[in-house]
């Protein structure tokens, strides 16, 4: 009886150990997948914010370029706009890149 139990028991124990090992691996795979998904989401949201800011900047630059090329604006207004631009643009770039 003891002789019969031993190899069987050993096998069963071994099997349980294997299963635990596999379980550890699969749970870490799930963690990796979770991490990837959340990284993806956060990255996309940041990129979208960045995109928004870029678009806003582009539009303002277009406006200023148009104004400057027509030479109608007063110089100081344009300068102050530019200063705002540069300040904001450098601020955002430092933050996200």
């Amino acid at each position: 009886m003891a002789g019969q139990e031993d190899p069987v028991q050993r096998e069963i124990h071994q099997d349980w150990a294997n299963r635990e090992y596999i379980e550890v691996i699969t749970s870490s795979i799930k963690k990796i997948a979770d991490f990837l998904n959340s990284f993806d989401m956060s990255c996309r949201s940041r990129l979208a914010t960045l995109n928004e800011k870029l678009t806003a900047l582009e539009r303002r630059i277009e406006y200023i370029e148009a104004r400057v090329s027509r030479r109608i604006t007063v110089r100081c207004i344009v300068l102050s706009d530019l200063i705002n631009f540069v300040f904001l643009s450098h601020g955002t770039f430092v933050k996200y890149i």
Binding site: F39, N51, T55, E62, V86, S89
Partner: protein
């Protein structure tokens, strides 16, 4: 329900069948599970690669934009320092000689195109069943369209929208020209007569911008209408629109009329379809510029046809209401189709149950203009149909080739003075025959040489193939009499018929050429289409249209 973008492939590690002759099953299961774990890791790494690839592409495009922005800022700073407030140019030159502002920002458009599909979704799309290879038939088509487009067309809605936008810009331009011709102070009357753009805009844009100049008159009108009674209000409005030649306005009122009549459970079904159909009418009408009669007639008939018995009564009452008006209208309108009075009875759109139409005593005229709706209608009826089979998207586009030969054929029938002719039409045509596209285009393409005999033998073959057996016998027997009579009688008439057919074809080709030229110019640029339309709508200046047209084209 969220759409699964990508999956990690072996979902279950050990749900496999074990091979039979294994001594140590536990070890076997362990090994199998470990192998599946490795496969899972590989699919996980593929998923990660796709993910990071997409993120990288986006970030890469941002880097380009940032660099270009940086350059522009530098240039601007330089140019600003060079600005000299003492250099003041003459204001007149500034205003008139300056090049108009052209924005170089890229606007996002066509976001959900097939090309922008992410890679994992493309791969899962590849694993789907392909549609039938109908494109192999497209070299054999006469009208040059792709065969697969009648089965499934991903760009259908965009094309529809683009047509509508282009048409609306044209309408607006014409309206402006008319306004120029008329007294500029008569704005209210112009808006009332050319009712179509106003009605359309109610669907497309928020109404507040357009309704402001119209409100005072509308209120009086409404009070007058209600004074006479709610039932008569609709009729009065219809009469006015009929007088004022507002054909689309007429349609809109018809849709309203039907939407009022179809209450309760039917209204939901009627609503989107009637609006869709109105959209389609706008495009369909312009494309063919034929007399329009109630296009809303088929859709309420169709949606009702799905919920049959009580609705037939209301549809028939609707039909009877429209009856006195439609013949008068079609008689009064200048029709480009040669035989408007003779009963053409082409295949009605297949979604219509034949009982629905036959139940009402149909004067033949309304179905005639209906037939040019089918080419635009096929995909919308497809999702709405229950009973009809797969063939239905194909037959309606058969209707135009059928139709252009049908007037010729019907002329023959009428000229023979066949008593059974009208019966024939009534019995043949409701089941739309799929085979005819092949024989009939062949027939149509050879009108210059043989007008009479080809349509006749082609048609009986088609009729024999498609129509149910009792009708077939009737058709074939009577049709076989025709070829014998044809040669002596048809000569004089055949010349006339050829001329008529050529006239139709010429007109169609001209219109198509105009449309195609426009399409080539416009392309798929949503931004330009929209901007052009908005420019035409909102601008009040008189010299806007031609000037803008040239500039937007660049």
């Amino acid at each position: 329900m969220p759409l699964v973008k990508s999956t990690i492939e072996p979902r279950h590690l050990c749900h496999t069948v074990l091979p039979r002759n294994i001594k140590n099953e536990l070890e076997c299961v362990t090994n199998i599970s470990l192998a599946n774990v490795i496969r899972q890791l590989s699919s996980l790494s593929k998923y990660a690669e796709d993910l990071f690839g997409e993120l990288f592409n986006e970030a890469h495009s941002f880097s380009f934009r940032v660099n270009s922005l940086q350059e522009r800022v530098d240039r601007l700073s330089v140019s600003v320092t060079q600005l000299d407030p003492k250099e003041e140019e003459l204001s007149l030159q500034d205003i008139t000689m300056r090049k108009a502002f052209r924005s170089s920002t890229i606007q996002d458009q066509q976001l959900f195109d097939r090309k922008s599909l992410p890679v994992p979704l493309q791969e899962s799309l590849q694993t789907c069943e392909q549609p039938p290879p109908l494109n192999i038939l497209s070299p054999y088509r006469d009208d040059g369209k792709e065969g697969l487009k009648f089965y499934t067309d991903p760009s259908y809605f965009f094309d529809l929208w683009r047509e509508k936008m282009l048409q609306d810009t044209e309408d607006k331009r014409k309206e402006r020209r008319k306004q120029k011709l008329q007294d500029p102070r008569m704005y209210d009357q112009v808006y009332r007569y050319l009712d179509l753009p106003g009605q359309l805009k109610a669907i497309d844009r928020p109404p507040e911008s357009e309704k402001v100049p119209r409100q005072p008159h509308d209120r009086k009108k409404e009070w007058q209408k209600l004074a006479l009674g709610a039932e008569l209000a609709q009729d009065i409005q219809e009469d006015k629109h009929r007088e004022a030649n507002g054909s689309a306005g007429y349609h809109n009122n018809r849709t309203q009329l039907y939407m009022d009549q179809l209450d309760g459970p039917f209204s939901l079904a009627a609503l989107p379809y009637s609006q869709m159909n109105e959209l389609l009418n706008r495009t369909g009408d312009r494309m063919y510029s034929r007399p329009h009669d109630p296009p809303p007639l088929p859709p309420p008939g169709h949606s009702l046809g799905e919920i049959k018995p009580p609705s037939v009564i209301s549809s028939s009452s609707g039909f009877s209401d429209s009856r006195p008006q439609s013949p008068a209208r079609t008689a009064g309108l200048n029709s480009s189709t040669p035989p408007p009075p003779p009963p053409p009875l082409p295949p009605p759109p297949p979604p219509l149950p034949s009982t629905g139409l036959r139940g009402t005593p149909p004067p033949p005229i309304p179905p005639l203009p209906v037939q040019h709706q089918p080419p635009a209608i096929p995909p919308p009826p497809a999702p709405l149909q229950i009973a009809p089979g797969v063939l239905h998207p194909a037959p309606p586009p058969v209707a135009p080739p059928l139709h252009s030969s049908s007037p010729a054929r019907l002329q023959h029938l009428l000229d023979k003075g066949q008593p059974g002719g009208s019966q024939l039409d009534g019995t043949i045509l409701p089941p739309p025959p799929p085979p005819p596209p092949l024989p009939l285009p062949g027939a149509r393409s050879s009108p210059p040489c043989l007008s009479g005999p080809p349509p006749m033998p082609a048609f009986p073959s088609a009729g024999a193939m498609a129509s149910p057996p009792p009708h077939t016998k009737h058709d074939v027997v009577t049709k076989r009499h025709h070829p014998a009579n044809l040669p002596p009688i048809s000569d004089a008439r055949s010349v006339l018929l050829e001329a008529i057919r050529k006239g139709i074809q010429l007109r169609k080709v001209e219109e198509q050429r105009e449309q195609e030229a426009k399409h080539e110019r416009v392309g798929n640029d949503v931004a330009t289409i929209l901007s052009r339309r908005i420019a035409v709508e909102y601008s009040d200046s008189e010299d806007e249209s031609e000037f803008d047209e040239g500039d937007w084209m660049e």
